[in-house]
Each structure stands twice: as structure tokens, then as C-alpha cells.
Amino acid sequence: MTLLAVEGLAIRFGGVKAVDDLSFAIEKGQIFSIIGPNGAGKTTLFNMISGLYRPSRGSVRLEGEDVTGLPPHLLARRGLSRTFQNLQIFYRMSALENVMVGCHLKERRSVLPHLLALPSVKRQNRESRARAEALLARVGLAAEAHKDAGSLSYGALKRLEIARALGSEPKLLLLDEPAAGCNHVETEEIDALIQTIARDGVTVALVEHDMKLVMKISQRILVLDYGRKLAEGTAQEVRQNPDVIRAYLGSQANAGAPHA
């Protein structure tokens, strides 16, 4: 069953078409990866799907409903969550509180009881804390729960963002380069983590440069180049696609090429 359907999606910044006439579909339960050279439009695509950018053309459907141009917090309510390539951490909060913010949609949100610290709020806080602690344990950060988020290592922050994104129990999780800047061991941890997330029924869309990781865990791969679809298919199909080979080898051969 299709969870996310993107059709004819396009966005331009000034005269530049960052993404152009892009269509694809993500099936429920898949790990769907999006690869391509730097500047191919991968993060721009994520930003449109998650509501941060409004596309100039085309549509995004989530579970069959048109969600094009909805603001991010409403998309979150419909089961979409994401992490960021350049970390977006709440640095003034502890690791635990970061993940508690991720549980926001599971919390009751009327303000007056919060000011009065009614017993129901205490209960609510306990629930969110327990939920956040479980998520931190899941990404291997249980021991760092009460540290300031700002004091965690880069690899830990990457996992913290994943834990936070899982707080809303999303149907679709967009991971933007979760293994970027991570060492070999950290990358393997992220690899295992993504697979358990998918096994628990969360559909994962992944933007990642680590080809070994992408080829290993993805059911389906979309290759972007200059904002357009270059190829789509299984790891096997993509690896043998002559266009993909040309784009990737080409970009390696000319280090100074515009999209390298």
C-alpha cells in the first residue's frame, strides 16, 4: 500500500529549478533511499515533503490525502517526522527533554492546567519522561539522558534526533544523512537502528551518502541528479543502471564539475 505519493513535484529558487517534475511513491513498511550528488535536491525534496518549503508545482499525498503545502506541525499530526542533516538540537535542554519535546503530540496541550501544575500535568510529565527514557535507551543514549544536549558528541546528537523524531510515533520517518560524519562503529549502530525502526512498522525515507549503508538496507532507491529523477529501483537495478554509473563516475572523474 502506498504511504507517500509524490507527483510532478517542482520548486524553483529564483531561476534555478532545485527539484523538477519529480514523481515517486513510497510503500508502507519500506526503507526508501534517495541518493544523488551534492546539490541534487535531496534535502530540498525532504523540506517540501515535511512542509518547510512550499512546492511551486506538483502534489504530495500522505495515505491518499493531499497534504501539499501543509505546515510542518500539521504534517507531524498526520504521522510525518524527520531529522536534519545539519543538526537541529534544542541545545538549552537536556537530552531527555529533547525527546520529551518529540512526544509533544502525545501530550495534552491546554495551557491553563500547565500554569496551575494540576495533578494531570504531573502524570502527563511522568508519561512523557517514561516514553522519552525508553526512546533514549533504544538509540543507546540512556546514560546521557540528564546531560545537556550541547555536551553530547556529534554521533550521539544524530541518534538523539532520531529518538526525538520517534516520540510522535510517526508513520513515515525522514532521515536526512543520519550517518554523515559518523565513524565506522557509529554508522553500524545507525544501520542497525534504522532496521529495527523499519521492523517496528515505521516507513523510512533515507537520504544518505554512505553507499554501502544505502545498498545494504534499502528496499528501493531513488537517484536524483539536478533535481530530476535519474533512476529508481532496487539496489541491484540502480547499481547496474548506465545513467547512474555515468553520473557517479563522472562526478568522481571531474572533481570540479558543478554538481560534484
Binding site: L80, R82, I89, M100, V101, V111, L116
Partner: protein
């Protein structure tokens, strides 16, 4: 037991309550009751503004506008409409909240300097209305305010106002402390650090900015009402631009995001001129110098810096 208690966020408030209760034993004259009252009222407004600035990370250079709404509600209400003082306080609160809601919706879309200038404009607008509507407000000369009567008791003497304003401050501070560790408080702190991350986690950023603005406006309005009632007199200048700047200075000086910090900042800025008053010629120079030195050497603000030095998490 004490160690466990001291980790609780409200512990600092307990300490402040004790200081407030004990301080009058050392007062050489009733003048100090009056100074205490002024500190508590300023602190109330600072605690509220800190919800907007320290928690939600939005600046306002116009909060004296809400202070003025509260002050003139208790001045004009009883004088022109025969409303009892306590009801005028509530009317002021409702008015400030509604104005904050209407003004906040469009201007909170602005960020940083733009928001600062827009709120500045709002503050100036309110003080101009108060100055120019002389028929209601007495114009630039101000107007006298009828004494507050509660349960048949006329709230007039300095000691009574000291205790009343302290009580209101402590209750206001307690609500602010409650807010910090609630889902709403976390949402506000989250959008302070990253609006995009807050939004993709389901937080309606505009809604929580507006809440912070409205709540802080209510604190300012209540402070304005109490100030007008305790002084029995009000001028537009006391709700003008300088008052807005004073409030922001209290928040930043005391410690952004810390409830106690707001109170400490207000106490510091209200009492320092009194302490320096003996050195008439250099009073203002010293005041400015001290503020600069505090900001240079205690950038987080007085309370968070000192609390860290003495090894306690700052509430």
C-alpha cells in the same frame, strides 16, 4: 532532606518567601516597605516578560504598554465608570490579554530586530494614547487613583501593600515555575532553540509564541494595576518607553529563562539607584558602569551565574 528539597524548582521561591518575610524585621523605617513593594511589582512584570524572552526567546520592547493598560484600567475604571478596584484589575487583565492576542498575531511573525521594532512601536502607541486622551487619563500630568478596597478594608498603608504585592509576586512566580516543566514550557523552550525542529515535532510555533506574549502581557498588566493602586497616582511616563527598557534590562541582568533571575534582576535594578543615591554626581555613571560590568562578567545574568558558582541548578 534539604538537599532533595533544594533540587526542586520551587525551592528558590521558598527562599525568596523567607527573605521577604524576615526583611521587615530589619527595616529602619516604613520607606523600606515602599521600596519592597516597588521591587515586588517590578519583579512581577519581569517574571512575566521572562516567559516571553527567556522561555520562548522572543523580545518585546513594548511591554510597558501592557503595564500601562493595567495601570489605567484601575485609574479610569473606578474614576469614570464606578467599577470597584478589584474588578478594574480583572478588566485590565482581560483588556491586556485581548490586545496582546490581536497585536501578537501579526507581529510575532517577525523575528529578531524586526520584532523588537514592532513591539517598540506598540509601546509608543499606547503611551501616546494615554498622553493624548486627557479627558480620560488626565494627559501627561497623570491622574490620581482611588484606593483599593478589599472586603471592606482599604488597602492603604505601606506594610499592607508590602505583603499584598509580595503575595501576588510569589503566586505569579509559582505559575511561571510550573510552566517551565510543562508541555507548554517545553514547547516554548524548544522553539526558542530551533523553530523548524519544534515545528516538525508537531509544535504549533505561532500558537506558543502567542501564548507566551499573552501570558507575559497579563503579568505586565497586573503589575501596572498594583503599581497604580499602591502609589494612588499614575502618569503616562511610568508606562512609557523607558519602563519597557527597564523591564528588558531586569530580565537580561537577572538571568533569561530563570524565574528567580527575573526577581533578582528587578531587585537589583530597583534598589541600586537607592544605594547609589548618596553619590549624587556619579550616580548614573556608576549605575551604567555596574550594569555593563555585570553583563561582561556574568553574561548569563546575575542569578544563573551565582547559582552555578554555588553549585545548584537554576530554576
Amino acid at each position: 532532606m534539604l538537599a532533595r528539597l533544594s533540587r526542586h524548582r520551587a525551592f528558590g521561591l521558598l527562599v525568596i518567601a523567607i527573605v521577604i518575610a524576615v526583611a521587615p524585621l530589619l527595616f529602619p523605617s516604613t520607606f523600606y516597605y515602599r521600596m519592597g513593594t516597588a521591587i515586588f511589582i517590578a519583579a512581577l512584570a519581569a517574571v512575566g516578560l521572562n516567559i516571553l524572552m527567556g522561555l520562548a526567546g522572543q523580545v518585546s520592547l513594548g511591554h510597558a504598554g501592557f503595564y500601562g493598560i493595567g495601570a489605567y484600567a484601575v485609574a479610569v475604571g473606578p474614576a469614570s465608570f464606578g467599577v470597584p478596584g478589584w474588578a478594574a484589575i480583572l478588566i485590565g487583565l482581560a483588556l491586556a490579554a485581548s490586545v496582546a492576542f490581536l497585536v501578537g498575531r501579526p507581529i510575532l511573525k517577525l523575528r529578531g530586530h524586526y520584532l523588537a521594532v514592532a513591539t517598540l512601536g506598540f509601546g509608543i502607541l499606547v503611551s501616546m494614547v494615554l498622553t493624548n486622551e486627557g479627558a480620560w487619563t488626565g494627559g501627561p500630568d497623570g491622574m490620581s487613583v482611588k484606593r483599593l478596597v478589599l472586603f471592606g478594608y482599604v488597602l492603604k498603608d505601606r506594610a499592607a501593600w508590602y505583603w499584598a504585592s509580595a503575595l501576588v509576586l510569589l503566586m505569579g512566580a509559582l505559575l511561571a515555575v510550573n510552566l517551565i516543566d510543562s508541555p507548554t514550557g517545553r514547547a516554548m523552550r524548544a522553539l526558542h532553540d530551533s523553530e523548524v525542529a519544534a515545528a516538525v515535532n508537531g509544535i504549533d510555533v505561532a500558537r506558543y509564541k502567542l501564548w507566551a506574549f499573552v501570558i507575559s502581557a497579563c503579568y505586565a498588566s497586573l503589575a501596572g494595576s498594583l503599581a497604580a493602586l499602591s502609589d494612588a497616582f499614575i502618569t503616562p511616563a511610568s508606562a512609557g518607553f523607558l519602563k519597557s527598557i527597564e523591564l528588558v534590562t531586569m530580565v537580561v541582568l537577572g538571568g533569561m529563562g530563570s524565574v528567580i533571575g527575573g526577581i533578582v534582576g528587578a531587585a537589583f535594578l530597583e534598589s541600586l539607584p537607592q544605594l547609589l543615591a548618596r553619590m549624587q554626581e556619579v550616580e548614573h555613571v556608576l549605575l551604567g558602569l555596574i550594569i555593563m560590568l555585570v553583563m561582561i562578567f556574568m553574561r548569563e545574568g546575575l542569578f544563573p551565574t551565582l547559582a552555578r558558582r554555588f553549585g545548584r541548578a537554576s530554576p
